[in-house]
Every structure is written in structure tokens, then in C-alpha cells.
């Protein structure tokens, strides 16, 4: 917050693709990567006379989303036509939900954002289903439209104005994406338009009870842009208020190149969408049995998993939060523990540092960037048994990331195993004591600090592979003897 006298009031509308095989109202593939206008049919091209037929799987995924966000699932919801003209909108209206959405209320629980902070709940207004539009492409002076995306199922998740900062908006989006991935409703990939966001922002003097005038920032397609746009917009609004001006109720577009928002021309947003109930689709009825069946098929959600990690495994709230950002990451951690690791927090920190580093450095998905979780677990077990040092484990891990080989093989190959054999260590100690007679005398005369020097010398003599615990023990015994 640039000025601490103000607080920001932020609400997000997130659109995300549902991972169905076919589109929302026709049998065309909802997949990406096909050539332009390959996944189209008369229905999603808006040919004369065609009618929509609702995709059952999309409804199930939307209900899963609603249940994961603690929403009330409406026993009857209806679709509506939202009318506007745009070349990528084949029917001249989008089939969406307006007055009676599928999911009402609910909340998203934001996990602790750093060590020592607490979880926060962001309330939801609603979640509704709708179809996506096509994509306009401007190429060599021509405007082209690709309708592959036309009719791909979306849910729009609308939050209450409960978010108070750009960082919190980011945390909300990350948690939402994590939930969507856990329940396999959406992959939340922003680069394919799989997750898009409109932001409502206003500011008010801290302690005021009334909201300020809000602006809407449309069509943000990365988490970073959302945070940047909010920061920019909050600062802009505070500037206006501080200089005695009034914030205008406007719709803004984010300019990712100049990293600032600009108001849309009134023509760009002055739409009266003329919503009315879609006469081609009967009301969507969802019986309690269907909701119950979906409920029982729900996987553990990130918030529940976090709570379990804290309660049963002794992790801190922050550690649990980092691990559950991504379902695969959490699963990796749990698989590591399954090898019988005793120190859960060491394993957690291993994932948070070594594994995340591997992902970040390679910019590849977890499965490609890191060795199998079971091998990571075996590696840490070698640390626990004292067979290798933690540093050696890190060296081995880096090698395993590249080679894909197992923990034992890598440790052997790199010769990283520690020597714990007492006679070998005792021999090395004797050699050092014999060679450094003067220093031994000083030590015995009271210069305790020299102990570290002897440890170093013994380790050096052993090529760094002596088990530090055993070296300490034997050395101390021999020096005091």
C-alpha cells in the first residue's frame, strides 16, 4: 500500500476453462492446439437453426468447483443470453448464467502467506457456467477469427470485495488455481486463456465504512499482471483522492507493455447486455443425490491437506501452504514420507528448497524437473541413517535431476557415502594427534577453540567423508584421554 491512510477494496471475477473433452453445447473437442477452425461445427459456429445441448460433464465439474469453494449448489439454475456484437461471438450472444447461477455463496481460504501469519477467508458471491468465445487474430492487415475456443466451457468465480491488497489478490488466485487443479476441474493455465481475470478496485480511508467508487480492470491474463494492475490502480486512485479529485466509475484495460491501466473508450464497454432466460435450454436441475455423489468423489482439498500437514506432521502453517500450492508438489512430499522418513520437516524443507529450485531452474513441470519422489525419500533416508551428509544429499539430488538415476546408485557413483566405521575414524584421529603435537598440548592446556581445527584436519584426512557425529565423538575422547 503506497499510502497507509488508505485501504484497497478488491473483488475478482475469475474465468477458467473446465477440463472437459467436448465443448459446453456441442460435441466438438474442447482441446487446444488444433489448427484454426478445426474444432468447429454448425452449433459452435452459430449457424442458422442450431440448438445447444448442455454437456453433463461440464456441469459436474462446475458443481465440484462449487463444492470445493463451500458454495450452495442451486437445485435449479437457469441459463441466460448475454447479447453483444463481436466478431468472435458467433451467435451475437453468449450463453451464460445471470439471475439464477449454479453456485451461490461460499469462500476461498487463503493460507498463511509467510511464517507467523494466519489464514484468511475471501467470501464468494457466486460461481456460474458459461461458454467461451472464439479468438480474433490480426494478421497481415486482415482480421481473422478462430472459433476453436467458441463454446469451450467456463466457470466464472465472483468474489465479494474482501481482498485488501495486490499480494492478497495474488494469493487468492494461487489458492484458486490450486483448488481447481486438486479437483481436476481446470488446469488453470493462463497462457492458453485457461484462467482470465477481471478486477474491481476501489480505495477508502482506513476505518471508513462506505466503499469508494470502483473501477473495473478487464481481461488480465497473468497473476503478475493482476498484482501490477491493482498496485497501479490503487496508487492512481489514491493520487486522485489526495489531490482533491473524484474517482470516475470506469472500465480500464491493462496495458502489459507500459505496465499501466487506461480507461476503455465508452464505446468499448457501454454495453446493455439485454440478458433474458435462454429459451433453448430448460432450467438446469441438480438433485441432492447428484450433489452427494459428487461430494463423495471429491479429493482432499488444499485447505484440508494443509490442516492435516500441520496437525499430523508437525509442519508450520507456512510450510504447509507452500507445499499445497500445487497438488503434484504435495503428492511428491507425501510420497517421500511414504519411504519411512522420520523427520517430516526436513522432508518439507527439502521439497520447498531443492525440489522447487529444480522446477524453477528448468522451468519444467515437476515430473520432468525432479527425480521420482520415492528416490528423493530414499536419499533423505540415507541422511537420516547417517550414510551421507545433507550436503552430499544435495549434490546427489542435483545429479539425479539430470540423470534420473536412483538415490543409492547416485550416492555410490559419486562416492558420497560417509565413513562411520569407528576404527577408520580412530586411525585418522590418531594420525592428526600425532602430527599436531604442539596444538594438542595447547588444547589440553585449555584452548577449547582448537577442537574445530582438529575436526577439520580429521575430515580432510578422510577426504570429507567421515561421519561428523562419529568424528566428533572419537576425537573428543582421544583428546581428553
Amino acid at each position: 500500500m503506497p499510502d497507509n491512510a488508505y485501504e484497497a477494496i478488491i473483488g475478482l471475477e475469475v474465468h477458467t476453462h473446465l477440463m472437459t473433452r467436448s465443448k459446453l453445447f456441442c460435441g466438438c473437442s474442447a482441446g487446444f492446439g488444433a489448427g484454426p477452425n478445426e474444432n468447429v461445427c454448425p452449433v459452435c459456429m452459430g449457424m442458422p437453426g442450431v440448438l445447444p445441448v448442455l454437456n453433463r460433464h461440464a456441469v459436474e465439474l462446475a458443481i465440484r468447483t462449487g463444492l470445493a469453494a463451500h458454495c450452495e449448489i442451486a437445485p435449479e439454475s437457469i441459463f441466460a443470453r448475454k447479447s453483444y456484437f463481436y466478431p468472435d461471438l458467433p451467435k451475437g450472444y453468449q450463453i451464460s448464467q445471470y439471475e439464477l447461477p449454479l453456485c451461490k455463496g461460499g469462500y476461498i481460504e487463503l493460507p498463511a502467506q509467510s511464517e507467523g501469519t494466519e489464514a484468511r477467508r475471501i467470501r464468494l458471491t457466486r460461481i456460474h457456467m458459461e461458454e467461451d468465445a472464439g479468438k480474433n487474430i490480426h494478421e497481415s492487415g486482415a482480421s481473422l477469427v478462430d472459433f476453436n475456443r467458441s463454446g469451450v466451457p467456463l466457470v466464472e468465480i465472483v468474489s465479494e470485495p474482501d481482498i485488501r491488497s495486490a499480494e492478497e489478490a495474488g494469493a487468492y488466485l494461487r489458492e484458486l488455481r490450486s483448488i481447481l487443479r486438486y479437483i481436476e476441474a481446470s488446469d488453470g493455465k493462463m497462457e492458453e486463456g485457461g484462467l482470465r481475470c477481471d478486477v474491481n478496485v476501489s480505495v477508502r480511508k482506513r476505518g471508513a465504512s462506505e466503499f469508494g467508487v470502483k473501477t473495473e480492470i478487464k481481461n488480465l491474463n497473468s497473476f503478475r499482471f493482476v498484482e501490477k494492475a491493482i498496485e497501479h490502480e490503487v496508487a492512481r486512485q489514491i493520487d486522485i483522492l489526495e489531490s482533491g479529485g473524484r474517482v470516475a466509475q470506469e472500465t480500464h484495460l491493462w496495458d502489459p507493455v507500459r505496465e499501466m491501466t487506461r480507461p476503455m473508450r465508452s464505446k468499448e464497454f457501454a454495453n446493455d447486455y439485454r440478458y433474458f432466460p435462454e429459451p433453448d435450454l430448460p432450467p438446469l436441475r441438480v438433485t441432492p443425490d447428484v450433489v452427494e455423489a459428487i461430494k463423495t468423489s471429491m479429493p482432499e482439498l488444499p485447505a484440508d491437506q494443509r490442516a492435516r500437514f500441520v496437525r499430523d506432521l508437525g509442519l508450520t502453517a507456512y510450510e504447509a501452504a507452500v507445499l499445497t500450492q500445487d497438488r503434484d508438489l504435495a503428492a511428491y512430499f507425501e510420497t517421500m514420507l511414504a519411504t519411512g522418513l522420520k523427520n517430516h520437516r526436513t522432508a518439507a524443507n527439502w521439497v520447498m528448497t531443492e525440489v522447487l529450485r529444480a522446477i524453477n531452474e528448468t522451468a519444467r513441470p515437476l515430473a520432468d524437473a525432479a527425480p521420482l519422489a520415492i528416490e528423493s525419500g530414499e536419499l533423505l533416508k540415507l541422511v537420516e541413517t547417517g550414510a551421507i551428509s545433507l550436503n552430499a544429499a544435495k549434490t546427489a539430488f542435483a545429479a539425479m535431476c539430470k540423470s534420473g538415476k536412483g538415490a543409492d546408485a547416485t550416492v555410490a557413483e559419486l562416492g558420497l557415502a560417509q565413513v562411520s566405521d569407528e576404527s577408520a575414524i580412530a586411525a585418522a584421529c590418531d594420525k592428526v594427534i600425532a602430527a599436531e603435537a604442539a596444538k594438542v598440548a595447547e588444547y589440553r592446556g585449555g584452548r577449547d577453540k582448537l577442537f574445530g581445527f582438529f575436526v577439520g584436519q580429521v575430515m580432510k584426512a578422510m577426504g570429507g567423508k567421515g561421519n561428523p557425529r562419529v568424528v566428533n565423538e572419537i576425537l573428543k575422547r582421544k583428546l581428553t584421554a
Partner: protein, 486 residues
Amino acid sequence: MTSELNRMTIAEARDGLARREFSALELTRACLEQIKLVDPKINAFITVCAREALEQAAAADRRLAAGDAPALCGIPLAIKDIYATRGVRTTCASKMLENFVPPFDATVIARLREAGAVFIGKANMDEFAMGSSTENSAFGVTRNPHNVERVPGGSSGGSAAAVAADECLGALGTDTGGSIRLPAAFCGVAGIKPTYSRVSRYGVIAYASSLDQVGPFAKTVRDAAILLRTLAGHDPHDSTCSARPVPDYESALTGDVRGMRIGVPKEYFVAGMEPQVETAIRDALASYERLGAKLVEISLPHTEYAIAAYYIVATAEASANLARYDGIRYGLRVDADNTGELYNRTRAAGFGAEVKRRIMLGTFVLSAGYYDAYYLKGQKVRTLIRGDFDRAFERCDVIATPVAPTTAFKIGEKMADPLQMYLSDIFTISVNLAGLPGLSIPCGFDRDGLPIGLQLIGEPFAEETILRAGDAFERTGAVKRRAAIL
């Protein structure tokens, strides 16, 4: 013999074909000959599909020869140009779709194909089914075969005229506010609008989605029953289409209406009705009494609000349904420097005056601030009208009314006054708002030889009842089918 084949009913032709008295090819040729002869005078067709029809007829003959003839094998039908027909241009009588060739068949077209029907041509209509006279066509006015100075009714005027002029044996129309029943009445043929949801709307170019319904025209009630059997039934491509089993409508035509209670709504016999029309309807009611039916006076008190409600609901839906004609993907495009201007020019050039009027009306009633006052109120009136019928059907089995207050009016007579034109549908519109089945049958002629239509309205899915009633009247022979004078 051959020259008269086109005058046959479907039932007669079906038997003749089965007995191999003539071939499907001969039957189709007879219809094409008649079209050549009379269509220049009445303009019932936008597109005549001679080549395709002859191919279909030849295929029908092969099936007849093989002994596996389906229900409508070799029967030549006219198809309102509102149905998507794969490979055959489908204009909806609009410049907007003048060269539009659909890559798919409407569900009912696919069903008729499967049943062996022959599509003789695409029939003229009011543009996008908006009109009551078939004068709003980008392809010229269709004229009434009984008097070419008169309109055939609309919007399915081409289909009705083609049947009346024996250019085909039956036809497909659509009915949103009376678009089958009115032209059936004006042209002196039978036409049925089934219960909403009885027949799939997939591939039927939408005017008002919650009101549009598919239905047949025929020379007799029996033929209408035969056609409806093939048309009706569940369609996975239409979520509003009923899964109810389809009865054998033909077997419901027992001729027996004894004990049937026929409701006569007092609101439908009002000042402004042509006396000759009222007389013909009263005579028909008297015939029913003689057949053993009982007449019951009923009331449909919200009738006077029907037209207003209809023009709100129908135009609201139309304003969205017609938004897809934007010049981007198919149909007419008038180029411009920017997209907004491209829309404006394309839609200005592509739509006729009545279509524009209804799009504007529909856009207005859905606008922010007006939605509650118009669209929502329109829907409430609809509920009241449905309630009227529910109560009426507690006291009767069938409701009998005139189809229209007048016989066919003169071409051009009402074009200057849309409200007068809208009133032509005053007796048919409530049936669409309530989603009920309605049958129109000829019940007489006025002094000028123009047909008068009787409307028989049933409860939801009571097509069998109204067809039985219509057929029973037809059997009395009180009204002889009169060949069009051409």
C-alpha cells in the same frame, strides 16, 4: 392418369405407389409439371429442387421395388425455406441468406429423408417467419391459389399455397403465432401446429424459440396425421424436445366424436369478425352437434392481452436469434472499414422492414430499465393465458374457434399498417403462448370463393383428439375440397 397424380392425397398416393399403379418418379414429375404450370402465377417456391427431387423419387422407386418402402416413400413435399437442408440453399426468404447453403439437415428433414419423402422445393414465406401474408419475402409475394389478388396468409404462405395448388402432396411449415394455421385457413388446406416440444426445432431457423413449432400442411386431416407421425418425437439435438412416445395419429381417426365436449370461447366471437366467417364456424359447430358432440360455452378472459404479450416475447427472442446474421461467418456481407460499420451495412442491406421493426422492438423490450415493464410482464401474461386454457379444459376436450376474423385479404391491403396485420393472428397467438396443439381445417367458403378456416385447439399432447375431431368433420363432406382456380 399421370397428369392428375399431383392432385392426390398422401394416403391415396401411398396406396397407389404400394400397388405400383404409378411410380414415385411419375408422381414427382406430375408435381414438377404443375409447378411449371402454376407457380409463375402464385410464386409458392423460392427454390424448386427438380434434380434432387427426381433423384429422391428414383431412389424411392428402388425401395418400393425392393419392398422396403418406409412411411412416406416417394411422397413429394414442399419444405418451407426455414428448414436447413444439406446442400440446398436455405434463405428464410431473406436477402441475408440468399446464397446460404447449410452443411447440415434439420432433424425433421433428416427424418423425412429417412421416411423416403421427396423434397420438391423450398417454399416461400415471410422473411424469418415474420408476417401474416407472405408479403415480407425478399423473393416476391406468394399469391393465394384461390384468388391471385389475395394473400395466402403467412408466414408459411408458400407451403400452404403449394398444397392448395397441387404442386405437392403435403408441405412443412412452422408456426410461431399462427404461421401454419392462418395460411391453411386462407388457402383451404389442413394444417396443424403441434404441442410445443412435440417436434424437434433443430435446424429450423429460429424466430422466437419459445413459440416456434414445426408442423405439416396437407390436403386432408388424415394426411396431416400421417406426416406428423414422422415429424414428431425426441431429438437429442433439441433440449426442449419432449421424450414422450409418438402415437399412431392415423389410427386415432375413428370418425367418432360422440360425447366429445367442444368448448366455444365467447371472447373469440367479437365485433369485427366477418359475418360470413362467423356463419361458417357456427355451421361447423352445428355439424359437430349432429355428430354427437356437445357444445360448451367457455371463457378465455386474458385473450385480449395475447397479441401484446406475443409481440414482446417473440420480438425479444427474435432480437437475439437474429444477432448471428452479422456478415462474419456466412450469408450477406457488406464490407466496411471497421467491424461496427460492417455490421450496420450488412444488417441494413440484408433485413427487410418488418424484420428490422421486430428486432428493434425486441431490443427495446429487453433494454435495461424496460425489462420488467415489458418482457417480464409479457411472460406473466403468458402464464395467465396458460391458466385460462387449463381452466377451460376442465370443462371441454377441444376448443373450437375461427382461425382468423376474415378470409384472405388483398395483397398490399395491410402492408402500410403493421397493427392491422398483427390482428390477423388474434385467434391463433394464444395457442402458441400456451404451447398447445392447434389444427386448422377448411369449414366453408365465402361468397368470393375464399376458404374459411376452423381452429381446433387441444390440451398439451392431445394431437390425437383434435385430429380425430377435424377428421370427423371432414368426413361429413360438408366442405368439398375445391381445386384452386388457376
